[in-house]
Amino acid sequence: MRFLFKTNYEQDVRLAKHSGYIWSYATLMLILLVIPYLLDEYYIGQLTQLFIVAIAGVGLMLLAGYTGQVSLGHAAFFGIGAYTEAVLSGNGMALPFMDEPIVFSFLLSFPLAGVFAALAGIAIGIPALRLVGVYLAIATFAFAIIVEEVFSRWESVTNGYSGLMVESIYFGDMELTDGLPFYFLCLGVLIAVILFSLNLLRSPTGRAMMAVRDSEISAQSMGVNLAKTKTTAFAISAGITGLAGALFAHKLGFLSPESFTVLQSMELLVLVIVGGLGSLHGAVFGAIFVLALPQGLAIFKDFLPVQLAEQPGLEPLIFGLILVFFIIFEPMGIYGRWLKVKLYFQMFPLYKKATFKRQKSYMKSERLK
């Protein structure tokens, strides 16, 4: 069992709390850098997809897990990022003073996709300032449905249901084909996003976001500008998810509004909850879960009686069951379970199950004046 002996404030501010972290994450990085050379194309693609979903998960986690704002329509930002990237790097954008639309290179279109998504985040964030809890959830839900409809109807830009082709990524003259280079690109973006988020969370803005989650009134009394913090959270969250969407556009190669429906929003939410609300590890764990589930089910189906396995509703059923199961029995998510397991081994044989048990909580109405 490790005892942390703190001798200066620096240790609390640092990202790596003790040397153990440095070793384990370095090893993880090494594995991630080497593994694509050992696997074949399909698995590399799967890992890339994992990174993309994890990036989107981090985006939602910042908003829902850390700022406490419920967003039931995050796929909208995912889609906005994806379509922006596709349009800017494909047909380009026609500016009023130009004869022909300019096609943006990836280095420009990628951040712009994030910026557009962030602007959309602000667009929903500002009216959302007045909304609490359930109303916010419903508003974001409505927003997502409207955006989905826009994707399918604004045919001049998005090609509606006929789909939009996405160009490959070009760095100067070098074309980034599928496979290895794209894998490293996504991994790089994921690491950058995680680092930026961790930095944000250990600085005043991050603390302000968590303060908004736990008690808006006292946060205000401490000088936290609610409007600014919530809007910032929305913007950053939407921007990050937009970046994930941009990468997703290139991964798929072909966009249609069906990829950005309420179903995808639900997937993101399940990711965040099952992974563990309130931790960035949770975003990654959740991403692994969301991607592994369909695969796992496919394998599991072989062991089921034929009638059960053939049902089309089996996957959403298991999905829903696991979601409900986690919320009832494991509210801290996979990351929470991971912590408990770690604690078990650290404290062996002194581990007590009740360490994480909290007292009964009663619901107090938030509504009354």
Binding site: N199, R207, D214, I217, M222, N225
Partner: protein, 252 residues
């Protein structure tokens, strides 16, 4: 020197005048207490000063500035801090993190520099930490530093609430029933701290209290409220011997 002045302060809730025609001023360095029966409007006045509620009449001046219409999040920056009657701490965070949020009104780092965690941000974090540690020493919270609020007993939470308000380096601190729920020993500690806040930290104190012992011990002047209106206004001795006050509140 007058630090805070409320003139003709009033607020209506529907048809109920929760606060009606209240005038008082607070001198720099003193401890001013508001007492009165429950529902008299004491916490409402606090909420008016913190700008959580908008007053329907009257003005408030703090340190020469009119704060009647300021935004709630600007109040901390101006130098007013408060504690809450029902403890509004951040349950899922540690004591240290709660106290660090108290420093928020003094943080000047931009979003971009924070995301990159530039050396300036690091320096600012360490400076905030030093200030917070001073308060932790002042309130003897050392061994609760990393505990989550939801694991702490009520008495400790009250102290953390006080600490968080002190971290904002206020000129005026609003204490809403600081001794409620505390036993005799903890109340004694609280009275010592209030004295220290006044003397050593030079912070002016505005308090709402029910414990008359604590009130007579630490207050310089007292305002008595009843049904939102002023009943008496003066030193603790004057107020405690006022027949109106005795009839309405003190009993006997």
């Amino acid at each position: 020197m007058t630090l805070f002045q409320a003139e003709n302060l009033a607020i209506n809730f529907g048809g109920v005048k929760a606060v009606d025609g209240v005038n008082f001023d607070i001198k720099k360095g003193e401890c001013f207490t508001i007492i009165g029966p429950n529902g008299a409007g004491k916490t409402t006045i606090f909420n008016l000063i913190s700008r959580i509620y908008d007053s329907t009449e009257g003005t408030m001046t703090f340190d020469g500035k009119d704060i009647t219409n300021s935004a709630p999040h600007d109040i901390a920056g101006m130098g007013i801090a408060r504690t809450f009657q029902n403890i509004e701490l951040f349950e899922h965070a540690s004591v240290l993190q709660n106290l660090l949020v108290g420093r928020h009104c003094h943080s000047k780092t931009s979003l971009l520099s924070e995301m990159l965690f530039l050396p300036s941000v690091r320096r600012a974090e360490l400076a905030h930490r030093e200030k917070v540690e001073e308060i932790i020493d002042f309130l003897d919270l050392q061994h609760y530093r990393d505990s989550l609020i939801m694991n702490l007993p009520y008495g400790v939470r009250k102290v953390v609430e006080l600490g968080r308000a002190l971290c904002t380096e206020p000129k005026l601190i609003l204490l809403d029933e600081p001794s409620s729920g505390l036993n005799v020993e903890e109340t004694k500690d609280m009275s010592f701290w209030i004295e220290d806040i006044k003397r050593d930290l030079g912070i002016t104190v505005l308090m709402v209290e029910h414990d008359m012992g604590l009130v007579s011990e630490v207050s310089d002047r007292v305002l008595v409220l009843n049904y939102g209106r002023m009943l008496a206004y003066g030193t603790p001795q004057e107020v405690q011997s006022d027949p109106e006050v005795i009839k309405a509140y003190l009993g006997g």
